[in-house]
């Protein structure tokens, strides 16, 4: 699966290779649909299975009680898979008078089933932050303990991952299932993935016929033709730079509710806050917690003494879009946006990557 968009600008070096554990795609196997359920159910020997399931009417990453609960292949979860690696809240340390003791108890062996290509890319983006030295041991441990079973999807109403080059993956999974209806094509992406195949070797067929390949190509073509949303990501870094002083930011700021939903549903947002929580006790003891934070909140850039580097709403919005559309690209050579459309769906006032991108071109804040 060739990667379409590697470099955003010509003058930046390719991202560093730090994925020492990945082995190159070894082979592509075929599986008949009738085996799929039994295969997925066999994965619990490799860890606790997580998958998209519906809870209170909302699709979420959780542990399915039955195979039938798993929702695959299209609709994406409201909160992305990042929550399984960068938890919304967890204890980093226990502390007492004598010091801080790390708490790694939130990590467990997991098999995450049904991760769409864009979210696999989001994890690779988060790796660039958390796995860069010094490595974040909490994230790293959960990443090490998790197997990724990717699953193909057809674009939804607000998907534009073709514009961000994240509609296909070439790394970042142990197994990847492409659902072609009549059969699955299964990419084996790691040694562990291969071990999973070996448990039920009889489910897999390594003779892929010419006809199968044709069907795969036809499916790719059909899928590529289904995208309804797109934007020109390549021009965004320059447009962001040129629009730094543009009135569109004030225009969006007047509308923005600063509710922070865009950042929490964004698969590549990683900002967090750290808070010490004391026990109700005369002794000094408690825990140091990490919580998801958002650059849309007023205290994000507030320092002790009261100076706020981004008190104005426009500054906060500009920071987020700079990060998504320009800054991350300069640093790592690819967009921080993975084109999943969650911000399009989450914002109650229609501020999202697409409307901002449009405004950067037209210099007008689009009407709601």
């Amino acid at each position: 699966m060739p990667h379409q968009l590697r470099l955003i600008r010509n003058d930046v070096a390719p991202a560093p290779t730090f994925q020492t554990g990945w082995v190159p795609t070894v082979r592509i196997l075929k599986m008949e649909p009738k085996y799929f359920q039994a295969f997925i159910e066999s994965l619990d020997k490799f860890g606790r299975v997580y998958a998209p399931v519906r809870r209170n009417g909302v699709l979420t990453w959780d542990t399915p009680e039955r195979f039938e609960e798993i929702v695959l292949g299209g609709e994406h979860t409201m909160i992305p898979v990042k929550k399984l690696f960068h938890p919304m809240r967890f204890d980093m340390f226990r502390f007492d008078d004598s010091g801080f003791t790390p708490d790694y108890s939130s990590s467990e062996k997991r098999v995450i089933v049904g991760v769409p290509p864009c979210e696999i890319h989001s994890l690779l983006r988060l790796d660039e932050v958390f796995m860069e030295r010094p490595v974040d041991p909490y994230y790293a441990q959960q990443r090490r303990d998790s197997a990724i079973i990717g699953y193909s999807c057809l674009p939804g109403e607000n998907c534009f991952c073709r514009s961000t080059g994240t509609d296909i993956v070439e790394e970042g999974f142990d197994l990847f299932f492409v659902n072609l209806g009549e059969f699955y094509l299964v990419w084996v992406g790691s040694s562990l993935g291969h071990d999973m195949v070996l448990v039920h070797e009889d489910f897999f067929d390594d003779s892929v016929s010419h006809d199968d390949i044709k069907k795969y190509i036809a499916w790719r073509k059909k899928r590529d033709g289904m995208f309804k949303k797109s934007f020109d990501f390549r021009s965004m870094p320059d447009l962001m730079e040129l629009s730094y002083e543009s009135p569109i930011w004030e225009g969006f700021a007047e509308r923005c509710l600063s509710c922070g939903q865009c950042t929490m549903v964004c698969p590549t947002c990683n900002c967090y806050n750290v808070v010490d929580v004391l026990d109700i006790s005369s002794a000094t003891s408690g825990r140091r917690e990490r919580h998801w934070d958002s650059c849309m909140f007023v205290d994000y850039s507030l320092v002790a003494g009261g100076h706020n580097f981004r008190g104005a709403r426009a500054e906060r919005l500009k920071l987020w879009y700079t990060h998504k559309l320009r800054a991350y690209a300069s640093e790592y050579g690819k967009p921080a946006c993975i084109g999943c459309g969650r911000c399009v769906e989450a914002c109650p006032v229609d501020i999202n990557v697409l409307t901002v991108a449009e405004a950067l071109v037209t210099m007008e804040v689009p009407a709601r």
Binding site: N56, L257, G260, M264, L278, S282, A283, F297
Partner: protein, 269 residues
């Protein structure tokens, strides 16, 4: 991992006397005091860590003297309560306003400062009624005294109470939480009610409740009080686009907004 654990000489808290705590109720439903009692696992910890001098709801032998921390629930609604509050303030090093009534005035302050108090009193009680103590329009504590910390909400949140008390126990200050309800609402993976054009005050209301109402499909009623960073103008426009009248929106934000909402809506009415 370099788990550094070292024995060190005495922490400050050791050997210190337990801080004296008093818990009081003015006009309100006493739900916040009840919530303190319902901290269950932690109630004993509170009684062990603090020297609880006065908590009429839990113990009938109050000792009214100097306090390190006074937690006061309810709005000030009579002259007698105002005097009681002033007297508590004098005795307490730290005064905490607990609950929507104490922080904003409560639902009894939904018409705060609109000039109709005397008329409303007359309509309800008639002209010649004699009161035991002079009534005051329901007011938050900080209309009369300096409040050190606020525990907003109807009722207050257990985790915020514990976070506050544990800091005060060690002579430390609590962490502010200036984020909208939407923060916790999204962490609970709720679908945003605004997307379905349902009334919700989440973006203009301070969080801390754990998004209690939206998590049950009910729009936020604003009981934590206004989020000073809230974009009231835009949010009201959004609610109007759902078909609500501005008067209705204002009425609803005033429900729990009491005295505290007034500055945020004065140019929007």
């Amino acid at each position: 991992m370099s788990g550094t654990k070292t024995t060190t000489s005495g922490g400050e808290s050791k050997g210190r006397e337990r801080p004296r705590l008093g818990i009081y109720g003015l006009t309100g439903c006493a739900g916040d005091q009840l919530l303190l009692i319902h901290t269950e696992d932690h109630l004993l910890d509170i009684f062990e860590a603090f020297d609880v001098r006065s908590f009429v709801m839990a113990s009938s032998n109050p000792v009214e003297e100097e306090l390190d921390v006074a937690i006061v629930e309810g709005s000030v609604s009579t002259e007698e309560q105002r005097e009681h509050l002033l007297e508590i303030r004098k005795r307490a090093k730290i005064l905490v306003a607990a609950g929507n009534c104490a922080t904003a005035g409560g639902v009894q302050a939904m018409y705060a400062k609109d000039g109709s108090f005397a008329e409303r009193m007359r309509r309800v009680y008639g002209d010649d009624v004699k009161f035991v103590t002079e009534p005051i329009e329901g007011s938050p504590l900080d209309e009369f005294v300096t409040v050190d910390y606020y525990l907003p909400g109807c009722p207050i949140s257990q985790s915020q109470v514990l976070a506050l008390l544990s800091r005060l126990l060690h002579g430390e200050q609590p962490e502010p939480y200036p984020h909208p309800v939407c923060h916790e609402c999204k962490l609970r993976e709720n679908r945003c009610l605004l997307l379905d054009k349902k009334f919700c005050l989440g973006p203009v209301t301070l969080g801390g409740c754990g998004a209690a109402c939206p998590s049950n499909g009910v729009g936020c009623t604003g009981c934590w009080g206004p989020n000073p960073d809230g974009n009231f103008e835009e949010h009201f426009k959004l609610l109007q686009s759902f078909g609500m009248s501005k008067d209705e929106i204002i009425r609803r934000v005033r429900n729990y907004g009491g005295h505290k909402i007034l500055q945020y809506i004065k140019d929007l009415e």
